[in-house]
Symmetry: C3
């Protein structure tokens, strides 16, 4: 059974078909692809955009979304087999997923890292356990990657450039400062999809500590080999921005300090100047700026950048609605 866990699991042809269907839904929002169908949206972490766009999207296609928020922190679910469950966990994922799958036709899962041990968080256990036990398709609503955001971003770029072919565009994924160590999910995803689309990708980050996990660096390398384009890592702001067609900003915590965030803080504080501002954007090839939101203004990007006509972050956010309707449709009735 197909799931939508990562774009990397899907063929390029299928991703292109998803994007085309999303563009169709943007022009023609109502439909009946989910008539009588239900999706459970399981949020282990809070959400506003994801929840609203999935819920409205299901409604516009004749379906219904059930929003389940097991709590801000850990839901006491057991994920291992063979455990004597005499601790906190009241239920095993095997039952949770199998029962939900009897009620609904799709299951979306948001489960952020716990930010204590990356070697554990990188296993993406919650998402994978749902995919293992569910008898209906599972959708990643952001765990350690964020594939829905990827498609929304690509659609926004395709709209901006007036073409579905993004090859040859210079794409800069720039780390920015944020007072807290954030999830790498959107950074992993941006790297993955930008290389998949054959763009010339620069990962701009302050030091080598901010390079992303080898899984995603590996996916990017594989994508470059298959799709053309290029990948480079840079710590130099000026050369990275020079001639860029796309600047995509995100903050994330440095993996070598994962779970040991106090030790990262002095390093992080040195790089507040990675903020996206008008001076940096002036170095680009009249490039567009985007971000997955939420964004702290004048910390990650200046008001001038956010309020510029070259900022496509609102369009990207809107596209979440359209691409998610395409993903739900594809999983229910195929492409």
């Amino acid at each position: 059974m197909p799931h939508f866990l990562n774009t990397q699991d899907w063929s390029r042809a299928d991703l292109d078909a998803l994007l085309a269907l999303a563009a169709h839904y943007k022009r023609q929002p109502l439909g009946d692809a989910l008539k009588g169908r239900a999706i459970a949206l399981v949020f282990f972490n809070p959400s506003m955009r994801t929840r609203t766009s999935f819920e409205v999207g299901a409604f516009q296609l004749g379906g219904h979304a059930v929003v389940l928020q097991p709590g801000k922190d850990a839901w006491p679910i057991e994920f291992d087999l063979g455990t004597v469950m005499d601790g906190e966990a009241e239920e095993h994922i095997a039952e949770v997923a199998r029962v939900l799958a009897r009620y609904v036709d799709l299951i979306g899962v948001r489960a952020f890292p716990k930010f204590i041990d990356w070697s554990q968080d990188r296993e993406d256990r919650v998402l994978k356990a749902f995919a293992k036990y569910s008898t209906v398709p599972v959708i990643n609503m952001e765990t350690i990657t964020h594939p829905c955001q990827e498609l929304a971003h690509v659609l926004a770029l395709q709209e901006h450039f007036g073409t579905t072919d993004l090859r040859g565009k210079k794409f800069v994924l720039t780390w920015t400062y944020h007072p807290k160590p954030l999830n790498t999910a959107v950074a992993n995803s941006a790297l993955t999809i930008a290389t998949r689309m054959g763009m010339d990708v620069t990962l701009l980050c302050p030091t080598s500590e901010y390079i992303l996990d080898e899984r995603y660096m590996g996916w990017a390398a594989q994508n470059v080999a298959e799709s053309g384009g290029s990948l480079q890592v840079s710590h130099d702001i000026e050369s990275a921005y020079a001639g860029a067609d796309v600047v995509y900003a995100k903050s994330w915590g440095a993996l070598p300090f994962f779970g040991n965030w106090e030790a990262e803080k002095p390093l992080r504080e040195r790089f507040r100047h990675f903020i996206v501002d008008e001076a940096k954007m002036a170095l680009t090839n009249d490039g567009v700026f985007s971000h997955c939101l939420p964004l702290r203004r004048n910390v990650k990007a200046t008001d001038g950048v956010m309020d510029s006509p070259r900022c496509i972050a609102i369009a990207e956010a809107e596209n979440r609605l359209h691409v998610q309707k395409a993903v739900m449709t594809a999983l229910i009735r195929g492409l």
Copy 2:
């Protein structure tokens, strides 16, 4: 673009049209005015009646309500422009409102005062910021006024008196005791709409400290000038109730003590006898009693008053459903 922030922003003809449409929906609950449309209900404070009536109302008209509850306390949103957002706020209202408006056709906002500084709370910043940045109509679901409650109350009075013309009725808005200093929103609203409808309005409160903000006293004075009727402030229970056709009860905190509530407490405690009881109601012109709910029985009003056939509080609460359907319809397709 039209919003529904305060009845005072709407013409009397449009308010009358809303009330007529609400009366229609009361007779004919189902319709398709919101077919395929979505409304986001953003609750910064909890709700049961407002949430249920909006959600059911949208459903009955073919639409869908997405309920967003950013938390009981403050949602870390920045409202000022130009701020360096390195504190608690993760997102600027400009992005929140603009993105929501891409997903839905209407946005409802409930944002109570913070009860610390009335000079700030009276700016109604959250509601106004949504109205500023949203590209779809915004509805006030209670902030420092409560216009949906106003229309529900007027509809209940029109039903009770068997006429849409309420001129000449004696309307008493009476302060009542409550152990906590409550929002003035419903009091502001009752004063506003009762004068708008041309009634003879008495604001009955224990002392001059309980007079409402000058903005709403000013709206009331303006309404009297334009619609006829009259307005007086009274601290005398007997003369206020004498001959009343309508007694509308509400408790609120005294504005001169705003944020300094311990100092108000001794004053407030002296006025427990403002409770609406059978003896006071006997002074009226066979008047009706109402309240916006929730109501503490035998504190704000006695069981005898609440369970009397002259109590129209349940009918008023039901009318929330009908008037809100009218407001949503008007904002989507005009009157």
Copy 3:
């Protein structure tokens, strides 16, 4: 007006009709029995299965469920008449229920015991108060009984045995260990419905302290008198399991220790061996196993039992959807 508070209030013919309608909905999920209708689901305690199955069920029949979660703990509602409400309660159940009933066509209520005083909890005050004041039908979504679970279980047994007639089956309701003292609701319900269906019922529990409340023991005795079958209490695992056709497991707190749970703990800890395991199931007549979920694996039942083809817990959970649709339909348009 009919409510669905307990199966014991319904005639056997009506229960059979509900089960038949549920079986119909299992084959034919979509319908219009709730077209334009709304149900309020009032959860005083958290839920995943109940909430999802009611919400999806209403949707599949053209209706809409509004989920109200007044909080994990007590919602400050007053239930007595005549009280001066100057404490915590902001609202009286009379207003809550009457207003909700103006907005929706059905009200579901989940209200667990408070686990302090069984003589109070056994009054089922919250559910009964809703039933008293609501002018629309009320459904028990689990309080001190769980009638929806009863019907789901019976439907699963009927499916398993290929007949609607369960007379002559040996039904064992076995207490199991759990680290916490749980609600007796599902145990009360299992005893009630198994005797109602005329089965030969054994209540297996460690000691006489774990015998259920006399109300439910009384219902069971009455059912045996009317429907045939039998009822016995046993503290002997081997003879209880011997020849069983159905093993239904549940943990619950011993009523003599209600509210004094530390004193129960040493007693409870002696009976961890009540776990349902393969050895015990081997004593049965190729019996089926079920449980209402959530279930702690290897505490209440072993992995081997849960993952066996004789476990029908997932089917029972699925049936919640179907029986609840039948209940909602029956309450709206009759059987």
